[in-house]
Every structure is written in structure tokens, then in C-alpha cells.
Amino acid sequence: TVGAVAIDADGHIAVATSTGGINGKMVGRIGDTPLIGGGTYADDNVGGISTTGHGESILKYCLAHTIIKLMEGGLDADTATRQAVNGMTARLNNTAGAITLSKNGDVGIHFSSKRMAWAYVKNDKVYYGIEHD
């Protein structure tokens, strides 16, 4: 799965997520990626999230929307992302990852899987990673 979250100069937020699904899936299987609130969510008043990982778990946990609601409740982007991803893994015993931007441009990155590739550009500087820590 791939995804992107951006804030433009007008302060508007957009999120995009795209995937081939899971290897060896049944014909006709649909995962979390096209489901708003599961794989993707954007709200200019709060932030934006794109998720990746075990689709059946992400869609049941409404992972992107869970992160939004935690941020709406006052958590910062990173804490909300960490709490929701770990909460999903604890509850459903499968792994996921998410990237988050708050409406103020704060970044959240967390994954309970072994690895997740990510990169962001802020103030013309590129940051990237794939391992924990």
C-alpha cells in the first residue's frame, strides 16, 4: 500500500491511499484502503491520515478515523497515531502503520509491523526512514 498526506499554502488538507491489497487474496476482496475512515481521512479542522497494514483489521478498527478522533480529543499527531495503531494491534492481533499530519503541520508516524517506509518534506528538508526508532 502507498499513501500521502499534504497541507497546502491555504491550510487545506488532502489524503490519498492506493493499494494492490494482500498477496493471495480472494477474488473480489476489498480491504481498508478505499474505505473512508479506514485507509484514508482528511479534515481541515483536525488533520489527515493514511494507513497501511492488515486491511481486515484496519477497516474493523476504523483506524484513520480513530486517529482523527483522538486528535480531536486533544492528543498530538504522533501520540494519537501511536495510541491508535498499538490499540488496533492489541485488540485484533494484527499489525498496521499510519502517517498523520495535524492541521498545524505536526507529523505522526507509527507502525506495529516490522517495517514501514515513510518520507516527508518540511521546510525544504527531506526526512525518511523504514525501521523502528
Binding site: 491511499t17 494492490g20 491489497g21 476482496r29 478505499p34 474505505l35 517506509a117 523504514i130
Partner: protein
């Protein structure tokens, strides 16, 4: 507001052999998205450009290089959302198009609906001028190997793509 963009290239059991390709790909994608923002593009333009970049790159499970279903076919899905007024577009069961994310954006901008699937999504894409590609042109060698591993070795070998490495399943 200073523009900012973040991308991901998938979570899971990413083997050591695929790390460099993922690094290269996410850096290219994030720069493609950032360039849009710096040239006055909207956040929607930016995220579409970043995802389009990764849909062209076989290092990612999207577009060309997508994993295969049990019939050995690519079936893709995508969604896009605009935070100003909470409008969204999504597509699923896309088989013959290079960029599902661009079709999803057209659902957002050009229809009263949020989500199109299967043959309806295909007819909509054709109506909007998206070019069909041969389904086999989206299939990479890595995706074929991953499906063969899955079929030969069973469910514990299921990974996002590639052979199972140690660690959790994403």
C-alpha cells in the same frame, strides 16, 4: 501556512532486499508531491502526484507491482479525500488501469458519489478518458514469486509482497 507532505510506502515484513528500493521510491514520491505544493498546487494535486509516482514503481504494492489475487490477477483500490469540506472519492476492483488514485479523484470531482467498484468503476474511467492497459502489464516478477510462495507454502507465508521475513505480518 507552510506546505508539508508526508508519504508511506507500505507496512509489513519488508525484506532487507527491498529496503533500498523503498527508500528511493518514497523520496522520489515525496519530492513529486512537494513540487506541486511549491508551484502553487493544492494539497489534492500534491497527494495525487505522490501516489501516482509510487503506482509506477514496482517497489510498491500499488499500480504496477501490485500483489496478485488467487487467480493471479491485479485487483487494485484507492481513495482520496479533501479536508475542506470532507468530500471523497474511492474505487475498488480496478484491473486495467495504471493509476487507480486518479480515477478516485475523478469520482471525487465529477460524481455525486463517493465510491465506485468493479465494472461501474471501469466504465466511469473509460468515460473520463483513462487509458486501459493490458492487465498483465501491471504484473511484476516479484508479485508472481510472492503468489507462488503463498500458494506453495500456505498462509504463514503471506506477506505484503516478497518472501516472508522474520517479524510481524503487515
Amino acid at each position: 501556512m507552510k506546505p508539508i507532505i508526508i508519504v508511506h510506502g507500505g507496512a509489513g515484513d519488508i525484506s532487507e532486499s527491498r529496503i533500498q528500493g523503498k527508500f528511493d521510491g518514497v523520496k522520489v514520491a515525496v519530492r513529486a508531491g512537494y513540487e506541486k505544493l511549491m508551484n502553487g498546487g493544492s494539497a489534492l494535486d500534491s497527494v495525487e502526484a505522490a501516489v501516482v509516482s509510487m503506482e509506477l514503481d514496482e517497489n510498491f504494492n500499488a499500480g504496477y507491482g501490485s500483489v496478485l489475487n488467487l487467480n493471479g490477477e491485479v485487483e487494485m483500490e484507492a481513495s482520496i479525500m479533501w479536508g475542506q469540506d470532507l468530500i471523497s472519492g474511492a474505487v475498488t476492483l480496478i484491473k486495467e488501469f495504471q493509476h487507480p488514485i486518479s480515477i478516485a479523484r475523478k469520482v471525487l470531482t465529477d460524481t455525486p458519489h463517493s465510491f465506485l467498484g468493479g465494472n461501474g468503476a471501469k466504465l466511469f474511467a473509460l468515460e473520463k478518458g483513462f487509458q486501459q492497459v493490458p492487465p498483465e502489464s501491471l504484473i511484476s516478477e516479484s508479485a508472481k514469486e510472492a503468489l507462488n510462495d503463498f500458494l506453495n507454502k500456505g498462509d504463514d507465508q503471506r506477506t505484503e509482497i516478497g518472501r516472508k521475513d522474520e517479524g510481524g505480518v503487515g
